[in-house]
């Protein structure tokens, strides 16, 4: 099957770029002598997870229980659910443990910690540390850390943080500084626990930008990252990759033309692309995504999607578009701002390898 034959919109994944991205991150983390736990929150696909863990310890991170169940059914038995859990979901999580999974949960809440400790399922648990993002987690130097340690009791396995504030960085030196802030916070927390005679085997951190640019990972036992597998326009802007490293695109069809306005109308709207505008705050605002040729290269120069409706996207070129080529029905590929959000609307990847030939279709899991 060729890309031209596919109904649009749909996801296209270039396996050759994916594998290169996997190899790069794997090599970057290996330099530090630290274990790598690929985060499957972006890809949500067992086939991709198998490629991502090749040569690694085999563990993965996920962001939802639905992912944990899906990957468990696909044979992944060492999973960290890297989003805080609520007590009422513990029974659902316990069903995975009963099927042989080593499931690690995270929390920054004393009541949840007590519930994890009291639950008959032998969960492992990590205390979530806030390393500067201000989203979740406790401060590494706060008394709350020891309260959580006591509450988790024998379930305590270590600490975890996510340097998500790296997304506000705009230069490599800035990323290096934030990566060090992330490392320093989680390692400090680990030593604070150990000083109080709590076990702290796992010291986990990660985000794609900080994993890519950390200068040292002393005291860290594992790194997590997810979007690096696909990359996207925002990651290219914050120096995690180049645009040539974007593996996942949306295949879309031209459904209208306005040569006078140098515009084409596409069948990829807000649902197909998401309304993520993360590149707006970067040096190169890509609108809602960039229109590339069917071969996955930027053959229309900087053709940005400027407006989105539910099922429509309006793209305008920064140079005169080749309307003799861009007819109604012409297929294009759209590079997304934020691959995680764009992929969430789809249930499968059409996999190519540098050509327009679809070699295989890989499923992905959605939902919670």
């Amino acid at each position: 099957m060729r890309l031209l034959e596919l109904p649009t919109p749909c996801l296209v994944l270039d396996r050759s770029i994916l594998e290169r991205n996997l190899a790069v991150m794997s090599a970057i983390v290996r330099r530090h002598g630290v274990a790598f736990r690929p985060h499957m929150k972006t890809a949500k696909s067992a086939e991709i997870a198998r490629l991502a863990v090749a040569g690694e310890a085999g563990g993965i991170a996920v962001s939802t229980l639905a992912e944990a169940e899906y990957f468990g059914a696909s044979g992944f038995l060492d999973i960290t659910l890297a989003v805080g859990i609520t007590p009422e979901r513990l029974d659902r999580a316990a069903a995975l443990v009963a099927r042989g999974m080593e499931l690690t949960l995270i929390t920054d809440d004393p009541n949840t910690a007590a519930a994890i400790a009291a639950h008959p399922a032998p969960f492992r648990a990590l205390i979530e540390i806030d390393s500067g993002e201000g989203r979740g987690g406790v401060n590494a130097n706060s008394g709350a850390l020891l309260v959580l340690g006591r509450a988790l009791g024998p379930r305590l396995a270590g600490v975890l943080t996510h340097g998500g504030h790296s997304y506000a960085g705009r230069s490599i030196p800035e990323m290096q500084r934030i990566a060090e802030q992330e490392r320093s916070a989680v390692v400090s927390a680990a030593w604070a626990l150990r000083a109080a005679f709590f076990p702290c085997e796992v010291v986990s951190l990660g985000s794609t930008p900080t994993a890519m640019h950390a200068r040292k990972l002393d005291g860290v036992t594992e790194v997590r990252a997810g979007v690096y597998m696909f990359n996207d326009l925002f990651q290219a802007e914050i120096h995690s990759c180049s645009r040539a490293d974007i593996a996942m695109t949306v295949l879309s069809s031209v459904i209208g033309r306005r040569p006078g306005d140098n515009q084409v109308l596409l069948d990829a709207g807000a649902i197909a692309l998401s309304k993520d505008r993360s590149t707006q705050s970067t040096a190169h605002d890509a609108g809602y995504g960039l229109v590339w040729g069917l071969d996955g290269t930027p053959r229309y120069s900087e053709c940005r999607i400027e407006s989105l409706y539910q099922e429509h996207g309006i793209a305008r070129g920064n140079r005169p578009l080749p309307f003799d080529e861009l007819k109604v029905g012409t297929k294009v590929r759209i590079a997304p701002n934020h691959a995680c959000l764009t992929a969430a609307a789809y249930d499968r990847y059409h996999v190519v390898s540098g050509t327009d030939e679809v070699s295989v279709i890989w499923e992905r899991v959605n939902g919670w």
Binding site: R20, V24, A27, I172, P173, M212, H213, C241, S242, A244
Partner: protein, 300 residues
């Protein structure tokens, strides 16, 4: 044109064998480029000699005595400072001064041994680089709150018929001979590491975000000096050292073409500088070129 420093030695054709001092054609320049407000590069191009110092004499014309001996060797050095404010320039200066002090002393011993202690010389050069690394780290630790000082360092120590090259970072040493240009040093960048381990195809390295991220730097988190040996016995071969301010804008093929038609080290250095500036001059640019002129058949 903003050239900060330069050094030339006269060039005259000669027969083959160890080139005499006056047969050397050496030139170096540095320029801040068109974007950076400060030049954080430093370079040194020098020959090391034994010298006789006359304190007192009854001779009527002591100036006519051969006070300076033929050179023991030649040092070519480029250092590209990295870091905020002035610290990059200070790092490259400190590294250059430290390693030169160390190397010139070591070279005297190596020269005196007739080049027979090569293994020890390799180790000494590596130690010299680490000495510079420690000096920069120490200076950096005296400045709490400032960004860490760091610098690249590429040093060629020529003790004919060989040149020993110390490499830390991504400044480069090239060797040109018989129409072929070869990058002698390996860029110590994360992109090159990814290429080396097979994670990144070589053709992707230039567009990688890691292409300018140093995996090893004097004063940095890690310094991993490499020492290489280069044969410079062929009369007419050219050695070129440069910082990445040149190679960001000028390709290896273009450098080779300029060396193929070179009239003098100075003319090629200036032409390459102009090319880099014409293409944006986005970084400090330093170029050093050295050669021993070919023997002129007419003079044989």
């Amino acid at each position: 044109m903003g050239i900060a420093k330069m050094l030339t030695l006269a060039a005259t054709p000669a027969v083959s064998g160890r080139p005499r001092d006056e047969e050397l054609d050496l030139f170096g320049l540095t320029h801040p480029g068109k974007v950076r407000s400060e030049n954080q590069d430093h370079f040194l191009l020098c020959t090391v000699h034994q010298q006789m110092v006359v304190h007192e004499t009854s001779l009527p014309n002591p100036d006519k005595l051969p006070l300076r001996g033929q050179r023991m060797g030649t040092i070519m050095l480029v250092a590209d400072g990295v870091g905020g404010s002035h610290s990059g320039g200070e790092a490259s200066q400190l590294a250059a001064e430290t390693i030169t002090r160390y190397v010139s002393g070591t070279m005297s011993c190596f020269h005196a041994s007739g080049g027979g202690e090569e293994k020890e010389f390799f180790a000494a050069l590596k130690s010299a680089a680490m000495e510079a690394h420690n000096a920069v780290r120490a200076e950096s630790s005296n400045r709490p709150g400032e960004k860490r000082m760091a610098t690249t360092l590429t040093v060629g120590v020529a003790v004919w018929p060989r040149m020993y090259i110390v490499q830390v970072g991504d400044s480069r040493c090239y060797h040109y001979w018989d129409g072929k240009l070869r990058q002698v040093t390996r860029d110590q960048t994360v992109a090159q590491y990814l290429v080396d381990v097979g994670a990144l195809p070589p053709e992707q390295a230039a567009t990688s975000p890691f292409t300018n991220v140093l995996a090893s730097a004097i004063g940095g988190e890690e310094a991993s000096p490499e020492v290489l040996r280069l044969d410079i016995a062929q009369r007419g071969c050219v050695v070129l050292l440069c910082t990445d301010g040149l190679t960001k804008h000028v390709s290896d093929d273009e450098i080779a073409e300029h060396l193929r038609t070179m009239q003098s080290s100075e003319s090629v250095s200036r032409a390459l500088l102009d090319l880099a500036l014409d293409r944006g001059g986005t970084d400090n640019i330093t170029i050093l070129i050295g050669r021993a002129n070919r023997a002129d058949p007419a003079n044989l």
